[in-house]
Amino acid sequence: MRKDRSNKALHYVFIAFCWIYAAFSLYPLIWMLFYSFKTNNEIFVTNPFGPPWPLHYENYITAWTKYDVPLYFINSLIVSIGTVIITIFCALLFSYATSRMVWKLKTFTRLFLGLGMFIPVQAIMIPVVKIVQKFGLMGTRWSLIFPYIAINLAFACMVYYGFFKGIPMELEEAACMDGANIYQTFFMIIEPLVRPATVTLVIYIFLNAWNEFILANVVVGSIPKLKTLPLGVLFFQGEFTTDWGGMGATMVIASFPAIIVYSIFSEQVESAMTIGGAVKG
């Protein structure tokens, strides 16, 4: 605790570095906002980095009139929330069974599901769409939700696995002695302990589903009622030229909800973590 001077100087350099890095991480947000008020000429030649002037707010008007923003927004929201809830639910149960319960094939099953992490969407797109059709899901929101769950499942299971592994076995022993059945033990004692992981995963899966483009374009690209926000950029990309300012506006419209979700949840992370810690201590 008694630090000499050079140590202290080093400490300040380090703190400064932390803040500079943070500034670099925040800049894209500001940059995107600037960008959405510029014309192609400003973006590429005259003013790529500074604040925009005059404000080309018409980019937002074009974005708003080119496609039905509120409708796309609600679609994105429903699909993303649906994906998050079901993925979290499945992944929690699966990881609990493969990490803490006792059965023969658990390692194999876990690694088998881990396969899902390595598949590029472009490769499995055609088979996936065919399966969606076979189940008669085409034209419903499930046509996006199920593939999204499948894409995120492996990742979520792996995160949970790590967290479950770290919980001492004594907890279940105690619960067992108190006469709780396995379901009660899981939902009331174990699940709250991995709340920090759940919150980070909620954010991550939500963002993945929210930003997904390739599959959405193929599955709901022809059904106006079900289109999601990322498909909005299509209205700005021509064969040769792109209206970058308009795209910037679309991206701002699409990202700010995500940022709001994150700011809300990051508060939750903090409180969830304290709850988790309290239970543990």
Partner: protein, 303 residues
């Protein structure tokens, strides 16, 4: 207890939903990918079985070697960058004395929230020939001016950096969550023993978060192996395919050349590579797991 944790019905109920979705929407398609990689197929007509021809062509393809080299570089760069910075920042943020830690925590995570397109647009503006970075070097009279994204051999490092920069925040969040789940009395005990803050973390955090680190390692390495989007936006795979990866090869073959079978062969090789990496990592970390288990058993016996 063993009976309690081996409740067959519960296991089935717990595993089934995830497994059902995975098999239907992931595993069956993967099997098809492997099956079609042995055919001559344009994606639409009836596939012709051609045996291992696609694989033979693939292994002699000039771009195949480049792709593998790029994937390796990509994986190594992002692994080192992300794990190093994520750990350092996570430990810093977890120190209750640090001022503005809430703000910093949000800031580091921001790049993750933005879509890849936005992040790549920004970096391509920064890294362009007359972009911000070169202008800074010029203004400071440094001789570092480069064609950052256009270099045949070096561009891949730059792209890897962009990816690492964007996704560092996620590993950071995971490690922060991990640190939070470590009971604080562990640290108090260490402090009483006279450990400095950094030392306490080295001794407690990193070993206790072995599972989290293992997981971070897997996502970084396999993320590098299957990289695609960043190349697609930043360089378009160029110059002359020198920033290709196997996923890019797959995309190019399947959609630009309508040679789906060949593309799927590239994808299959990539999946196998990822699996190998995962198995190797599991193998390396296995010893530690076993040790822990043994220790637990010993403790139990003593009790």
């Amino acid at each position: 207890m063993k009976k309690y944790m081996g409740n067959k019905l519960a296991i089935l109920l717990f595993v089934l939903p995830a497994l059902a979705i995975f098999i239907t929407f992931d595993f069956i398609p993967i099997i098809q990918v492997f099956a079609y990689s042995f055919t001559d197929w344009n994606g639409l007509t009836i596939p012709n079985f051609t045996g291992i021809k696609n694989y033979l062509d693939l292994f002699t393809d000039r771009v195949f070697a480049t792709s593998n080299r790029n994937q390796l570089i990509f994986a190594v760069v992002i692994t080192i960058y992300q794990m190093l910075f994520a750990t350092v920042f996570a430990i810093t943020i977890s120190d209750k004395k640090m001022k503005g830690r809430k703000f910093l925590r949000v800031a580091y995570f921001i790049p993750v929230i933005l879509s890849v397109t936005v992040v790549c647009q920004l970096w391509s503006a920064v890294l362009a020939g007359d972009g911000l970075l070169n202008k800074l070097f010029e203004a400071g009279n440094f001789d570092f001016k480069q064609n950052w994204l256009g270099d045949r051999y070096k561009a891949i490092y730059v792209i890897a950096f962009v990816n690492a920069w964007q996704w560092m925040g996620y590993q950071f969040a995971l490690i922060v969550a991990g640190i939070k789940s470590i009971p604080s009395d562990y640290y108090e005990a260490a402090r009483i023993d006279g450990c400095s803050n950094v030392l306490a973390h080295l001794k407690i955090t990193i070993p206790l978060l072995a599972e989290t680190y293992k997981f971070c390692l897997i996502i970084s390495l396999t993320g590098g192996i299957k990289a695609f989007t960043e190349m697609n936006i930043l360089t378009g795979g160029g110059p002359n395919k020198s920033t290709y990866t196997l996923t890019y090869m797959m995309y190019n073959a399947a959609f630009k050349k309508s040679d789906y079978g060949y593309g799927l062969a590239a994808a299959s090789v990539m999946v196998v590579e990822c699996m190998l990496v995962m198995l190797v990592i599991n193998f390396i970390f296995r010893d530690r797991d076993q040790k822990k288990e043994e220790e637990k058993a010993r403790r139990k016996r003593r009790a």
